[in-house]
Symmetry: C2
Subunit: 563 residues, 2 copies
């Protein structure tokens, strides 16, 4: 049996090697009449004439031969079984990159500098531990792999790496092991993908409530290793709040943090593993807070007159006694984008939309400035209703209006499909990418203005018509996450142009009091901003930790810090 | 000018060198008629005949001569000024210990094994940085000192330490530097004591909302360094949630973490400094979340029929949509203790109390099993009212009854006085001490039973009539903090007997799924349980961090881990 066959029989599925999601699924705009005009307006791309490139053929990809010594293959095969360790080229390519724009551009251009030499599929925590120890003993390198959805460059081997590189695929470890129903705690294997673990929890009436954009193709272990955030995190917390216990296979033995609601045992080991991107070991099992599936889980849409009043409303909600599950508002550009991807509306629905816009116009709203907001309510019916009435009053005070549940339902259905749009644009020679940050409330508006200005300067610098839009995605007591999406049609040097825009956006985050990332992690992509974010002494302290905890640099070296 | 005079002129006050709190204040029971009978019943101590010892005279204390070399004194004096560095014996004794039972027993018995050789009082962040660098360069040891209220042995020099030991007193750094009113963030110097910083915030209508039992004598920096929790933490969060930004003087330079609502920059440096007890540097400045002083801040009292139904009610509240600011319930023994410390009630109040007890008795309650609970409500009046109505319904469902605000007001007034009681008992030859833990809801009742049984076995082992009581002090989604208080009359070997009881309690925490401490930190006192709490690999990882971050072991060595 080939490893690919064995893997498939274990239920481990990978995304397309060259793009997001599963084969046969992609973005299309047949039923979205406003989309093509919008794209032409935003980035000057004419979808009628832009002929999409075909998906690359795997045969066109060149992969350097594996440098794994036969002894390492034997040792690993003795641990996981012969048909669970492979140097198959397709497997190696699948495990070379995540799914960042940089990754997709490179892989489509046959630019694979360094692939892992081996891929292993352990089937138990004990096997993971033995793989970790074997790889360290062999002076090789280990990179843990979950769903492969990372967009920060956390998965790729360093190009200059001369030691054998092993990608450890966690896909077979995907069971919900135990639910402590009394405490609302579930022990779950780290390789479980979002839909799989939610289905296992739902069987017994529970939910984790963690829904990142990558949900369908990312794993619990990956969420922990990158400090993920989800759409309902305002209610359920970021993954850092959700994780209570951890098992981590460290060289020499398993690090076990028992599930505790809180503890005072020195520097937090739990918070050292969170965000560690494989540099401290392999997360094998996570005990998480789970919740009873709520009676109500609704998302309502609101319109605001402009971005500033919408931001103020989100801040007022965060400061209030109301506790919504989602608070999200798009700037005018992103609102226009969202409306452009609506399906064709007919009959009464179209009539209602036109009537609403007419009404707002008569009220003196500038339709180009309208900002679309989604706010969610969860819990017992009475609780959800009360939160909505508290929020509605704040919205009204800030001049916004509620437009019902309809758009919210649409949002809920579409939320995991956005990454497909990036592939659609790439097929047509355009970049679409995201960068997100968090900052105190007092810095948000200047930060937003600074980022938009920096992106526009970058577009000008590369002489290209670009587009940048934004939404506020998570609210906290003292600030919020701003999530930017930018797009432009490539010129002659796609990655060079991308670097100019991406760097300008990241630098503007830092310059305006924001962090380099709120929930996408550091990897290689954001490492250049670490020192500006956490200070020189901070980088040194982290480096001290990595060097001491992994003296041979066997564990995903170079990620987070070059050191 | 002597350093003591200079220190006093800077407004730096210390607690009594031999006990808790300020000179002239102590616990008394003149107006608490039920107290003496209770103490006789609980630990067999007859307050009528137990003659209190007099406070020790400082002249009776022997302190070894300072081993600080003159060059180190000169270097430090050049940084902080001559009258801000001292080897005065009283200053050295004040900075030798915290205020744990072990500390007080030792200091009263003239058992000072190792005092710091010098005490310095820097006046700015820059001076702290230069002191850190000077101490490391001199191959000396640095121990940061806040309010001196620590009860985990985090402040004392190791007895075998041969290098010069410098205690860095943060008392002069106590200003609220800036309030970002838009974001609800305040920058505060780390040496600020609780009442001082709350007063500075209150001037502008803000509150930090962090009220540990030690509030009057502990500092912001100390709270961060030990992962403190306060009485309103159910609403405001533990200090770990409250801290957003940090300045830490590390050897070689300042670690600066800018205030961020959330971030994804690898292992959390913020959460490494939290709980670090001086082992990673000196915390000089903290940016914290602050809140508008709420319209309502009320604490209500409730009675439950027994401990089990009371615990179930607290769990149901934590799982519900209600958001109280305080959830606390005492077991029957602690409830009896609380009632014994009530002031004499007369007239209608006494009549009402008797009537209530009579009513409960007729309803079939066993008065010996009654558990007293305090639940707090904060926020806008309507919000507080609504939370109370949600909680009241849950209390009723669990057979409890509300008894109004009166006892809650008393609780609020008395809450910071409990440590004085320990000195009162010590004066009369009895121990009174605390140990606290946290565990998942499913483990709480067995943990409670296990701890009580273990304490009683320990009392039996040392042949002494002992007492142990408990309250639940903080609730989380997945569990809660249980806070135990125990007492016994000393025999011939106070510290030996204390060790037997304290160790039994701590071991029972671990054996029943609890942590070694929820908010009192590790220090020397709890270090023996670290490996059982965070696993062998966890202790090794922490040790790796400390060794790499402080290769000469200059920073408060031996605390948290012996390594």
């Amino acid at each position: 049996m080939s490893v690919t066959q064995a893997r498939r029989e274990s239920g481990v599925q990978h995304m397309k090697w060259w793009g997001w999601g599963v084969e046969g699924v992609g973005f299309h705009y047949h039923d979205k009449p406003a989309f093509a005009p919008f794209v032409r307006f935003a980035v000057g791309l004419d979808l009628d004439t832009a002929a999409p490139v075909e998906p690359p053929a795997f045969e066109s990809i060149s992969v350097s031969p594996s440098v794994a010594p036969p002894e390492l293959v034997s040792v690993l095969a003795a641990i996981v079984g012969e048909d669970r360790v492979t140097d198959d080229d397709l497997e190696r390519v699948v495990h070379t990159y995540g799914k960042s724009l940089r990754d997709l551009v490179r892989i489509r251009a046959n630019r694979i500098e360094r692939s892992p030499d081996l891929v292993v599929y352990p089937g138990s925590e004990d096997e993971v531990q033995r793989v970790v120890d074997a790889v360290v003993a062999a002076n090789a390198v280990l990179i843990p792999f979950g769903g492969g959805s990372n967009i920060a460059g956390s998965l790729e081997p360093l190009p200059q790496e001369t030691r054998p590189v092993v990608s450890l695929d966690m896909g077979r470890l995907r069971r919900v092991l135990e639910i402590d129903e009394d405490s609302g705690l579930a022990r779950i294997e780290a390789g479980a993908l979002g839909p799989d673990l939610e289905a296992q929890l739902a069987e017994r009436g529970w939910t984790l409530g963690h829904f990142p954009d990558s949900f369908t193709h990312s794993t619990l272990g990956g969420w922990v290793a990158t400090r993920s955030s989800g759409m309902q995190s305002d209610k359920y917390g970021d993954i850092a709040d959700i994780v209570r216990g951890l098992h981590v296979a460290r060289p020499g033995g398993m690090l076990v943090l028992r599930p505790l609601p809180s503890t005072s045992t020195g520097p937090s080991l739990r918070e050292m593993i969170l965000g560690s991107e494989g540099r401290l070991g392999v997360i094998t099992e996570v005990t998480v807070q789970v919740h009873r599936v709520p009676e109500k889980r609704d998302i309502y849409a609101y319109f605001f007159r402009d971005w500033e009043s919408g931001l103020k409303a989100m801040q007022a909600i965060a400061e209030s006694d109301a506790a919504p599950s989602v608070t999200r508002i798009s700037d005018a550009r992103e609102s226009a984008f969202s409306l452009s991807t609506s399906k064709e509306s007919r009959g009464f629905s179209k009539f209602a939309q036109n009537a609403l816009m007419g009404l707002l116009k008569r009220r003196g709203w500038n339709l180009d400035e309208i900002c679309l907001s989604f706010i969610g309510y969860e819990g017992a019916a009475e609780h959800a209703k009360r939160q909505k009435s508290l929020v509605d009053a704040i919205v009204k005070k800030h001049g916004g209006i509620g437009v019902g549940k309809g758009p919210g339902v649409l949002y809920d259905q579409k939320k995991f499909d956005t990454p497909y749009l990036r592939d659609f644009l790439l097929d047509r020679g355009a970049a679409g990418d995201v960068s997100e940050t968090a900052a105190p409330w007092s810095r948000l508006k200047p930060l937003y203005d600074g980022v938009v200005a920096a992106a526009n300067r970058a577009f000008e610098q590369i002489g290209i018509k670009g587009w940048i839009m934004c939404h506020l995605s998570h609210s906290y007591h003292s600030g919020a996450c701003l999530y930017f999406t930018f797009s432009f049609v490539f010129g002659d040097d796609p990655l060079g142009e991308y670097d100019v825009v991406k760097s300008a956006v990241q630098q503007a985050f830092i310059d305006n009091g924001g962090t380099l990332s709120h929930h996408h992690a550091v990897g290689l992509e954001h490492a250049p901003w670490m020192e500006q974010d956490v200070s020189k002494a901070g980088v040194e302290l982290l480096g001290d930790l990595f060097s001491a905890a992994d003296p041979t640099s066997a564990l995903n070296p170079g990620k987070i810090l070059a050191r």
